[in-house]
């Protein structure tokens, strides 16, 4: 790709549920990002959003509702139903096609207007088999965690360690939802929601409205001193029925390989400075680290224990606190990308990593036991 796409600016809401009107929130964030980037509503080329009708207050045709608030009036726009990294890559495609110079990318999910996540994830099921058994994402994750422990000896302490690390990191993140210092014992003693998953190992339900302005290379350089460049993307989806899959050999390695190849990355652990991964269930951070190539199969727990994924480690994972600290289901991919963006620009405040951050990885997942994954690589 000779023509690069840059992320120019980001604006986002914190994760705590609020009683603000949803449209007001979307308007505020859209306006903020346009003002910060210096691109007017008239000039923005296209608007691509991510939202989901189930994680959207029961409002169907989701982007109809926030079209005006999301600066899209009389614009050529579109929407991805599912995960927000899909919206990001679609916006990148629209700019790379040459049809647009700039794009506004939105991820919208107002947790306070939705029932608990598992009421909604229950509807990912087919009506014939899995729905009659009552399957939801937490049950699928519990079955996956049990396999992970049985087959590779991952311990409860290692899983709890992810929670301790991420919630500690979240203390330095003004956008995080959960702000609580917790110790291993707190996590291990928390209530069992779906054995072997404990309450503190499961992500909350959060608010998350986020916007980004993307621009083609020459324009990005004019709009900001420090554009963050899109380097590569990969995504992949696994089969549908839980019983047809090996829950520990999913599609993340495929998605990651596509992203690494596009970005020219051969040794991820060395070449990536920070990784924001989507870990709605604590053990999944360990599993995803293996899939991303940061360590071998079954070694995720040891990797955590070594401190390699800590703030000062070789491959810091989730300095933002990750999804365990803030979980707006649909927008969480863009929040991962935003953290990478801020870290590269040196704008991550209290949680800015000491080392020079040049390349960041953002990961998102949705679907039962990580059925679908997307990975984006950005760099300075």
């Amino acid at each position: 790709m000779t023509n690069r796409v840059g992320i120019v600016e980001v604006a986002m809401t914190p994760g705590a549920e609020t009683k603000d009107n949803f449209l007001d929130q979307v308007f505020k964030i859209s306006k903020e990002v346009l003002d910060k980037s210096g691109v007017s509503r008239d000039d923005i080329g296209t608007v691509i959003s991510a939202s989901s009708d189930v994680f959207h207050g029961g409002m169907s045709c989701a982007n109809s509702y926030y079209w005006d608030a999301g600066a899209a009036f009389l614009k050529n726009g579109s929407r991805q139903d599912g995960e927000s990294l899909f919206a990001f890559i679609y916006a990148v495609m629209r700019i790379l096609s040459g049809n647009y110079d700039t794009a506004l990318v939105l991820g919208v999910c107002k947790g306070s207007e939705n029932p608990e996540n598992d009421v909604l994830t229950h509807f990912f099921t087919d009506p014939f088999y899995q729905r009659q058994i009552g399957l939801n994402e937490t049950i699928a994750a519990a079955l996956q965690k049990r396999e992970y422990m049985d087959r590779f000896g991952i311990t409860e302490e290692q899983c709890a360690g992810v929670v301790v690390k991420n919630l500690k990191n979240a203390l330095g993140n003004p956008y995080a939802h959960v702000k609580k210092k917790v110790g291993l014992d707190d996590v291990l003693a928390s209530e069992v929601v779906m054995d072997p998953l404990k309450a503190m190992e499961c992500a909350p339900k959060s608010e998350g409205i986020i916007a980004m302005v993307l621009a083609k290379e020459e324009l990005a350089k004019k709009l900001t001193d420090k554009p963050v460049w899109f380097k590569g993307y990969g995504s992949s989806i696994d089969g549908f029925y839980l019983g047809d899959r090996d829950l520990l050999e999913g599609e993340l390695p495929n998605a990651a390989k596509r992203a690494y190849d596009a970005a020219g990355i051969k040794d991820p652990k060395k070449e990536i400075d920070v990784a924001e991964v989507c870990e709605p269930y604590a053990f999944q951070e360990l599993l995803w680290c293996e899939d991303l190539g940061f360590c071998g199969r079954g070694e995720g727990g040891k990797l955590l224990e070594s401190g390699a994924t800590g703030m000062n480690g070789d491959i810091p994972v989730n300095p933002s606190g990750g999804v365990l600290a803030m979980n707006p289901y649909v927008s969480r991919g863009l929040y991962r990308l935003a953290e990478g963006f801020l870290q590269i620009r040196g704008q991550a405040g209290e949680r800015q990593l000491d080392k020079q951050v040049n390349t960041a990885l953002a990961h998102s997942t949705h679907g039962f036991a990580g059925q679908c994954h997307a990975v984006a690589i950005i760099g300075s």
Partner: protein
């Protein structure tokens, strides 16, 4: 405009009330059909785009999970596009941009719907927010009736003329559908039947409205390299346009329908079209309502504002006319919402590649495909041509 992109094949299911199959089996029919029609191996597909109406329709959310296998997407990148009724054309745009960007050379696009498994009007009511408008906007027909009234009053078109023109369209399209093996409702109607049919929401009557159809459509988008590789007749994407208006119904007029005008203009500018009625050979307009179809003719510049009824009655837009519109029968005869916009693109592609069989418009080289969505909120237009 980016690198050239073409549609090199499509597949449709038999649309209708499909209680003989589950939803994934229905999608599989269309996907199997496109691979059979083109001879392309599913393994060569580099990306898949899927889309349907929102989960309230069939009661399954994020259906790309459910359809992963039948979409042939396991192990591949997937995208899921949804923009209400305009989903079908937005799906086509996603496929187009994926290839135009250079990020893939061969993309499968699939739209689907199983309307009869849910309550479509109840679903459409959930598009409306619960604060102000939901009590008043229950289902689609009411909204389009209001639009029709607005239009006919604004341009001073006598009621009986509008009725006569709408009836002409209904009879023509339901007739045309007999020559489309995939269409849902095929019927020989008389003017008396159409004029006296049961009222849905005045002035719209039963035969002015689309059915609830189950169906799916699959399509393959290809780069120039792939067009050469497979040697299939290409329908080149010459222009794309899309626009969305205010969410709140009543914020702007719908007779001179700005987003429809803008969508067409964007597409015409890209394709270099200045006189659509002369330059287009066939138009697959999204026509769930006969009345609204005439509005599109005006907004797309096929004729002046207020003129459509006269031209319809003269037969200008019939199969033998100057600009045949919806020779497939259109949305009026077949409406599986998530697929419908894509069906328009599939039909438009079949026309310019000479593959439309019994409803082929002879010598068609340039066609238009269109879809509308939301509460009169979105319009999308795609121009396809036999020349690059």
């Amino acid at each position: 405009m980016g690198r050239p992109v073409a549609i090199i094949g499509s597949g449709q299911t038999h649309h209708g009330r499909r209680f003989d199959v589950t939803y994934p089996e229905l999608v599989k029919e269309a996907v199997d059909a496109v691979f059979e029609n083109t001879g392309i191996s599913p393994n060569d597909i580099e990306g898949v785009v899927s889309g349907t109406m929102p989960s309230m329709m069939e009661g399954v959310a994020l259906t790309h999970f459910y359809f992963a296998e039948v979409l042939r997407s396991v192990g591949k990148p997937i995208m899921k596009t949804e923009t209400c009724g305009s989903t079908g054309i937005s799906l086509a745009f996603t496929g187009y941009y994926w290839v135009a960007s250079g990020m893939a050379d061969l993309v499968l696009v699939v739209g689907s719907e199983k309307m009869n498994e849910g309550d479509s009007q109840a679903t459409m009511t959930t598009v409306v927010e619960p604060f102000y408008q939901r009590y008043f906007i229950a289902g689609a027909p009411g909204v389009f009736s209001m639009q029709c009234q607005e239009w006919s009053v604004k341009f001073g078109i006598p009621e009986d003329k509008v009725r006569a023109a709408a009836t002409r369209l209904s009879i023509d399209h339901h007739n045309d559908a007999f020559d489309n093996p995939y269409a849902h409702i095929k019927k020989r109607l008389t003017p008396e039947e159409v004029n006296n049919a049961r009222i849905i929401t005045y002035p719209i009557r039963l035969w002015d409205v689309c059915p609830n159809s189950d169906g799916a459509c699959a399509m393959i988008f290809a780069s120039e390299e792939m067009v050469k590789k497979y040697g299939l007749k290409p329908a080149w994407v010459k222009g794309v346009g899309y626009s969305g208006e205010e969410y709140w119904f009543g914020d702007s007029e719908k007779a001179i329908w700005q987003c429809a005008i803008d969508a067409a203009k964007q597409a015409y500018d890209m394709a270099g079209i200045t006189n659509p009625r002369k330059e287009l050979d066939v138009a697959e307009v999204y026509n769930p309502f006969t009345y609204q179809e005439m509005l599109y003719y005006e907004c797309f510049g096929f004729c002046d504002f207020g003129e459509a009824c006269d031209l319809v009655l003269k037969g200008v837009f019939s199969r033998e006319g100057e600009l045949p519109c919806d020779p497939s029968g259109g949305t009026l005869c077949t409406n599986p919402i998530g697929a419908t916009g894509l069906n328009r693109a599939a039909e438009a592609a079949l026309q310019v590649t000479g593959q439309a069989g019994d409803h082929q418009i002879p010598g068609a080289k340039l066609s238009l495909a269109h879809a509308m969505g939301g509460v009169d909120q979105y319009n999308g237009v795609m121009i396809l041509g036999s020349e690059k």
